[in-house]
Symmetry: C2
Subunit: 753 residues, 2 copies
């Protein structure tokens, strides 16, 4: 500060250059640096606020900007989710027919306006005409069926085509579920544009189209992406969040909670999802704010009322009968099924995606989508359970049969529930639907359209669960004198709830695929509202996770992260072998010596040579080449920007100028060019470990502090490893570092592999 | 390992001595070391499991021991909570009268067995006799009233006396709520016996007595302590948890969730409470296990069915009317009240507790309890709202008035709710009860009996809320043409629910006192089960927290931690000033030089002199006194144990033996005594920061990694601070460190104050 060199010194400390301290695309942020930047900012505002009223007001508005932002995110995401629901509902119905009094009405809406509808036949009214009625004037017979069939396929293809074309044209990042990428971004990686406005617009529109096209995908995962886009865009309104990557990620964590909250109408489950599944850094403050945003979003969605029933979700259920302890056996069976299906699905899907990536299949995404959409529509139409949308199917499967229910699934002969003809037909159709859904989902997830995995997974589980449930029910009906049924399941009593089995199955399959635990159970709990059903859900989810983990510990999102080569340090992973930092650090034996900068004995040109001849993201600064004691750490990007800037704007800085990282420039001959002072961009407190630190502790530090790099210091004459003897002069600290990989396709997602 | 010194060398590395690696009482554990120990253990078991089937089975049983432990904790804590509920209910009723058909029946139970009871007058049956009836054969009139009054006081005093005497005699740690201490223990501190079997037994019994004595305290906080004691005791069954302090704390975190789960019948809320309020290290695995344990406990409690209504809690509520947006204004008002009350309560209570600690008041805990109990009973009896137990009061205040309700609070004149005579009386009594509860709770919390704060705080808030609620209701009734009521509150409509106000008030007050947020809202949500009431609860809790924080950021538990001088590093605290590690590290300028050990040039006697002349918990090991480069760190306790042991058991180790921390002992003259090799107890990877590291980052590292100490290294010729020039020879790493304080009464709870 009190620079006293022989010439005017330019100090970078006080006025940081634009660009210094920012990150390049596909780079990892330094959490510690970002958080400490934010603390400094906060401290400054607090200090100023004591000086004037204006500053005090500014400090208050700064403190409340986080809440305001959360409110806005909740409102925006809730409104978008409502819009998506309404639009998807309308387009889905459009595949079957059109409303004569206004084509923009969906089926249900259309018939509301009609007076001729009775309660029993809500779905039928003259205003709503199927395509066959409209085109050939006839709704019965084989010909009409074929016309409807063809129109269904036509619309499905049209929607799918529009979806994939829009994604390709405007925002390639809009495809997929987005959760793997969001996990990576939240862990500190930067993917510019992934959460931008074009992605948001494109994803919103194409999500509606993709869902309506009847493909085996859901809107729940992409809703998380949409919510995160909203949050990222709204962050630009507030300096605090615009300029700080760590603070912005707090908001994104909350947005992930908002996404699940609007997808399932489960604010608490959403927050736990964010905490358990996607977030990396989740301080308690974020917990509370996430909860706030999730609630705002849920209530925004409810006031839009997209389903017309004041409910937050399509498949709200109310069960009346309690479950019996013996039923835990089938529930656990469902858990095993869910786990097996989850493990199998992940393997098959990853294998298929890898094939897409490596073979020519990947070059024709539009054709792929069209073929899959055509196949789906072709097979799905004849079976009423695959023709309806995924969430409608789940809703129907979860439903408990009341006496008035006209659904085929409730086709019992009598009130005391022997299965009737209708139910047997339904079971056959369900079994076929199960096989179809299982196969088609594997090739659907990962295509270049927005596609969520929650609904298809839940659908598979719900079908399996319902089948098992009806089986148990009939077993109990015909064998109520068996020991296991005696005492709690008398004939005629309504003792087994197939809908509950469907729900348990759905949870098990979703759990097997995503490996969610607490959040899944809480989401399901929020759907039913009954604490007693938590135990079956928990038993199934737990079994499912254990079974699936036995085949591989990665959930589908982690598998996709690895497939795409994103750098992601999995918090749950444990180390098998006990290695020390010295075993994994670079340079290894035989590598060229570590590229370092010295604190006051290199010229600009020499520094540039070091930087140009390597690809490292940063360089340790040491006292001198002989005495390699660590002084600090400087980032490549900051270094380049500063040198460029100095050359352009500072008088006298030339290639022979000395680069000085110390506070006082060393005395130089009077004719020398002015030195370039770079202490301001140097990190004076780089993180270090000793070379004897076990790797698991090192990785723990990486995870918990969110570091970008770590220097390994070697000191003392331990003599344990010959490497130590080959190192630089044996006194003095010394050095190396390992980075998180910087390029996403490096295929080395953690620094230790 | 391949020690090749001139004489037989004893290597401590392979066979750790008993005691090495353990902690003394009132010490802080090293999380990193504990976790790394557990990882080594796990790795060893995994490796062995590949060799034989027995080892595989052992590895599996090891993996599932965590779940088994959770199951046991849930069962035990649930059963204990059920027992406490039943016993407290019985003893509380005993203050009023006795059951003739069996003194062990409580009032309700007694009248169940009677056939003469009608539904309307469930509470009255000839079998249950008040003390006046029993003693003077008359239940009416002033004399009977006085007899009952005196008997009430007698029982209250008896229970209180037994409670305080038992606590003093058997387990002094059983007093208070226990949550501050559990927070401290979970953060890594060791208080032996705090979670032991005597504490458990004493706390369980005295909790029943204290609650029954009518003192203004609740059983919810102590239940957390009871659950933690169960967990700690059960940990002894499993080596994995018995031997590892970090693993045991994971179980204790889950037990805290179990405690809240059984206290409120809110498993999700319990888990969030543990996460938000008490836990320090809460990995995701713990989240899932806590949830499991909390559910097991809740269902155990329900199958015990202590309240006889299949509900988990005494105050289950169901509201029917929705709330209106305008009502947010009174809800926020309640939030402000709750915040003010919380801040005031904390100040008053801490002032009172400090007075107890510092004046002679503290010498007479038994008399204090008796005086407060007498005072409470004396004042409480005449007012029916203070006479009933805290949870009964809250239950009544939360209740929505139905038409059949005979409670005084529902004393409306007509169905359309103008207040009647009875209601006005009730309001007066409530107002008096409010003042009484506010005052008496301040002096009750902190006495030497088990005492929870949840119920008294909630009672204060519920009374205030109910008063405001009835006020709003009457306002709306008489002024339904006002602009704010028009449109949603027509005359005769039941538009305002005073019970909801009570609930919001309770949440606000509890929030103000404890500063809980998410967990509080979720607990309340689990009580009502309706998502729509979350918004009022959230608004009030948020306001309450903001208001209370404006007067001081500490909740009651943090305040008590500070009062008792426990070492606790608050995760939420932020630093005001920007200091560097160099500013706070010891030794400071003018202090004597840092006490260090050298790696191979000190004798046993010299080491003992260094250890004896200081009180530090550990010592850095450096290369030599001249070149103070850091080699490792050794703990005082480990050092003393090893030297003692070597002297007793190893031939030739005498005071002049050399202490060697290097791998190979230096060559010595042949007549020298054998060296004492201590490399095995040295930490080869002590954590270090540079002296330029900002304090907030340093504190962050402490919090996130759970460290016990950190070494501050000073290197390079930075010359920034003159202190650097006064340091040891300026090349080479250098040193030291700040500890977490070790003695609880040090009054310096964080290393930075």
């Amino acid at each position: 500060m009190n620079g006293g060199g022989p010439k005017k010194l330019v100090d970078l400390l006080e006025d940081p250059l634009p660009g210094v301290g920012t990150y390049e695309d596909f780079n990892t942020i330094d959490w510690v640096r970002e958080k400490s930047k934010d603390r400094d900012r906060h401290r400054e505002i607090t200090n100023k606020s004591r000086q004037s009223t204006v500053a005090l007001l500014r400090s208050l508005s700064d403190a409340f900007s986080g809440w305001l932002l959360m409110l806005l995110v909740g409102l925006m995401a809730g409104a978008l989710a409502g819009g998506i629901d309404i639009a998807a509902h309308w387009l889905t119905d459009l595949k079957g027919g059109v409303c004569l009094i206004g084509f923009w009405f969906n089926h249900e809406h259309c018939c509301w306006t009609s007076n001729e509808t009775t309660f029993q036949e809500r779905d039928r009214c003259p205003q709503w005409q199927s395509w066959a009625e409209l085109i050939v004037g006839n709704s019965e017979g084989a010909f009409a069926y074929i016309v409807n069939y063809l129109m269904y396929i036509f619309w499905a293809l049209l929607f799918a085509f529009l979806a994939v074309i829009l994604v390709r044209a405007f925002a390639p990042y809009a495809c997929g579920s987005g959760i793997p990428e969001i996990k990576t971004i939240l862990s500190g990686f930067i993917i510019r544009g992934y959460l931008g406005k074009w992605t948001l617009i494109t994803k919103t529109i194409t999500l509606v189209l993709a869902v309506s096209s009847g493909l085996s995908l859901g809107k729940e995962g992409p809703l998380v992406h949409v919510a995160c886009c909203c949050a990222n865009i709204l962050c630009h309104l507030f300096t605090k969040y615009r300029k700080n990557e760590a603070k912005r990620r707090e908001v994104l964590s909350a947005a992930a909670a908002v996404g699940v909250s609007v997808a399932f109408g489960a604010p608490i489950g959403g927050v736990l999802f964010s905490l358990e599944e996607v977030s990396y850094y989740f301080p308690l403050k974020t917990l509370w704010r996430s909860f706030f945003a999730a609630l705002v979003a849920a209530f925004t969605l409810r006031s839009i009322n997209p389903f017309g029933n004041s409910r937050l979700v399509l498949f709200y259920v109310e069960f009346h009968a309690p479950w019996h302890l013996i039923e835990l056996a089938p529930f656990i069976l469902l858990g095993i099924f869910g786990g097996l299906w989850g493990a199998l699905f992940i393997r098959a899907n990853i294998a298929w995606c890898r094939r897409r990536k490596t073979t020519r299949l990947g070059h024709y995404p539009v054709i792929e989508v069209l073929v899959v959409a055509a196949l789906t529509a072709l097979i799905a139409y004849p079976n009423s359970y695959t023709r309806m949308s995924g969430s409608e199917l789940i809703s129907e499967l979860f439903n408990d049969c009341s006496l008035l229910d006209s659904s085929q699934l409730c086709g019992y002969n009598l009130a005391d529930r022997p299965a009737g003809e209708g139910l047997y037909t339904a079971l056959w159709q369900l079994a076929l639907a199960l096989i179809f859904k299982m196969l088609i989902t594997v090739i659907t997830f990962g295509m270049k359209v927005p596609s969520g995995l929650f609904i298809p997974s839940m659908a598979v589980g719900a079908i399996a669960g319902r089948l098992l449930g009806v089986g148990m029910e009939q077993l109990a009906y015909y064998n109520h004198d068996w020991l296991i049924f005696r005492g709690w399941c008398s004939p005629g009593a309504d003792c087994i709830t197939p809908g509950l089995y469907a729900m348990v199955g759905a949870a098990a399959c979703l759990g097997g695929v995503t490996r969610m635990t607490v959040s899944l159970v809480v989401i399901m709990f929020e759907l039913t509202g009954g604490l007693e059903y938590i135990v079956p859900l928990m038993a199934a989810t737990m079994t499912s996770k254990w079974v699936a983990d036995a085949f591989g510990r990665e959930g589908i999102y982690e598998a996709h992260i690895r497939l795409n080569g994103y750098p992601f340090l999995e918090a749950k992973e444990e180390f098998e072998h006990s290695s020390l930092a010295v075993d994994v650090m670079r340079p290894r034996r035989g590598d060229p010596a570590l590229a370092v900068l010295t604190q006051d004995s290199m010229t600009v040109e020499e520094v540039e040579t070091v930087v140009d001849s390597t690809h490292y993201s940063g360089f340790p600064v040491v006292v001198s080449q002989e005495s390699q004691r660590l002084v600090g750490f400087v980032l490549r990007r900051d270094l380049l920007i500063s040198i460029d800037n100095a050359r352009k704007r500072q008088d006298g800085v030339v290639s022979t100028s000395q680069v000085v990282f110390t506070e006082h420039a060393p005395t130089q001959p009077p004719e020398a060019p002015p030195p370039l002072r770079l202490r301001g961009i140097m990190d004076l407190s780089p993180f270090t470990v000793t070379d004897h630190t076990p790797m698991d502790i090192t990785v723990d530090i990486f995870r918990k502090l969110g570091l970008r790099q770590y220097l390994v210091l070697r000191r003392g004459h331990t003599g344990r490893r010959s490497a130590a003897k080959r190192g630089p002069p044996s006194f003095g600290a010394f050095v190396i570092l390992f980075y998180r990989p910087v390029v996403p396709n490096l295929g080395v997602p953690t620094p230790t592999r």
